[in-house]
């Protein structure tokens, strides 16, 4: 494999000569979905983008990217630049789930640094446990941090954690483990367990949510919603409806766990709409109905595909959201979603390309 910045042997430069003697295209540094560096020609990048948008369109029952949009994505990715950015004046709001510098254990300093040095727009207080079930047990501690942080910061601060419905099943929780029941064919028992867990979960989301709003939080973030399937999603939507009724001015962000809702239960519906199998447009619509104010679609990375492929796929399945959105849409461009590699240190070239592509193609409201 070629070293960083080098072209593969026999294919260097726009008029390089292939081993067989023919003229070849220049190979451009490119990233794979796991973050590793590779080199691809402009034609290979275009082929990846075209393949991904066709697949995304077929799976999400959406329109593929237009020729102009494909060219635009290609221009972003067919570049050797180490960094890229949106145009001046086209910047968007960053809502930073689990955000900040991730200096765990330094909550307020982390938030101050995020505000004063990173220039983040919407900050988030979070705890390393990052599940509503766990946060319930340390709520007064988190409330005190929120109250103190609100005295010291100017930018809005939301409180974030994950629904994590599976934590309510044995051995971590009180309910029978539906992931053990389902393989045994005990469908009714598994569904009953999910429904029992949802009841526990919704109560915890409301308890923590109201507690943090009482402590001065500007909003709440339900991060990685739907990670345990349709039950996870419905318990979140139910909590959102309750919280919205009592707190009309609070920001409530729902960020998704994946591109479609897995039907672990299979029969759950929100206001008559079945949740299993919803793609981002449907997810957004039920979130809007529930009273969510910020929606964060997430599209999972394929590590064996290029970042150009992954971004084109992400744009294709999220794009239908933008046509029906009445609330801001902030695609999740964190590790392993929406064109950002699965990597603890996602390379800046890949991250900045994903950000630029989502802002410029989707005209989204934030990230």
């Amino acid at each position: 494999m070629a070293e960083y910045g080098e072209a593969e042997a026999g294919a260097e430069g726009p008029t390089g000569t292939a081993r067989g003697g023919g003229v070849t295209e220049r190979r451009i540094p490119a990233r794979m979905g796991d973050g590793s560096l590779t080199h691809m020609t402009r034609s290979e990048l275009r082929a990846d983008i075209e393949e991904a948008t066709q697949l995304g369109a077929r799976k999400a029952k959406a329109e593929p990217l237009s020729a102009g949009e494909i060219d635009h994505v290609l221009d972003i990715y067919a570049s050797s630049a180490s960094f890229t950015a949106v145009d001046i004046g086209e910047q968007v709001v960053l809502s930073c789930d689990g955000g900040g510098s991730k200096m765990t254990g330094t909550d307020i300093l982390d938030l101050l640094e995020s505000e004063q040095r990173f220039g983040q727009d919407i900050l988030e207080l979070w705890h390393i446990e990052y599940s509503y079930k766990a946060i319930k047990t340390i709520l007064p501690f988190q409330q005190q941090v929120m109250q103190n942080a609100q005295l010291m910061l100017t930018a809005p601060i939301q409180y974030g954690a994950q629904p994590n419905l599976a934590f309510y099943s044995r051995p971590d929780g009180p309910v029978a483990n539906w992931f053990e029941l389902l393989p045994r064919g005990e469908i009714d028992a598994a569904r009953a367990a999910i429904e029992e867990a949802m009841d526990y979960a919704t109560k915890d989301f409301i308890y923590v949510g109201e507690g943090m709003l009482d402590a001065g939080a500007d909003g709440l973030d339900f991060d990685t919603t739907g990670g345990a399937g349709d039950g996870d999603f419905l318990s979140t939507l139910t909590a959102v409806e309750h919280l919205r009724a009592g707190h009309p001015d609070a920001g409530i962000e729902v960020g998704m766990a994946g591109e479609f809702v897995i039907g672990v239960h299979g029969e759950l519906a929100h206001r008559g709409r079945r949740l299993a199998g919803l793609w981002p447009k449907g997810q957004l619509e039920v979130c809007q109905d529930a009273g969510v104010t910020l929606f964060g679609p997430a599209v999972n990375i394929r590590t064996g595909k290029s970042c150009a492929w992954n971004t084109a796929y992400s744009l294709t399945v999220i794009k239908p959201c933008m046509e029906v959105a009445t609330i801001p849409v902030h695609p999740n461009v964190g590790e392993g979603v929406c064109g950002v590699p699965v990597n603890g240190y996602p390379p800046e070239d890949a991250v900045s390309r994903a950000a630029k592509a989502h802002v410029e193609i989707l005209r989204c409201d934030g990230l």
Binding site: V86, G119, P156, A215, D249, T293, A355, G366
Partner: protein, 108 residues
């Protein structure tokens, strides 16, 4: 990654008007274009000024909306943090939860 996003696509938080636009998204569910227009009208500036740190540093200073503080950029006697949020709530015509909590606890 947070720094990368901030530089690649972020408005800039309190270096600019990113926090103000963000507040309109959170409290009113405004889409980006609407939120930017709303904030620009309240500030009496152009939409383009909102993500221009040069313009917003002056506007935030004039209106007491809180600015970045460091050793070469100090503003003693000027509102920041909670005191700036009182002004932001008035300027934008929104209810800021922590401001209301502060008033209640301070007996204001």
């Amino acid at each position: 990654m947070d720094v990368t996003h901030a530089l690649a696509a972020g408005m800039g938080g309190i270096r600019t008007a990113g926090d103000l636009v963000g507040r309109m998204q959170m409290t009113r569910g405004m889409r980006l274009t609407q939120a930017k227009r709303y904030v620009a009208d309240k500030l009496g500036c152009s939409v383009g000024d909102l993500s221009d740190s040069y313009a917003m540093e002056q506007i935030r200073g004039e209106k007491g909306l809180g600015r970045i503080l460091d050793h070469s950029n100090l503003h003693p006697g000027e509102p920041n943090a909670m005191t700036a949020k009182f002004r932001i709530a008035d300027l934008l015509g929104i209810r800021i939860n922590s401001v209301e909590r502060f008033k209640a606890m301070a007996g204001i």
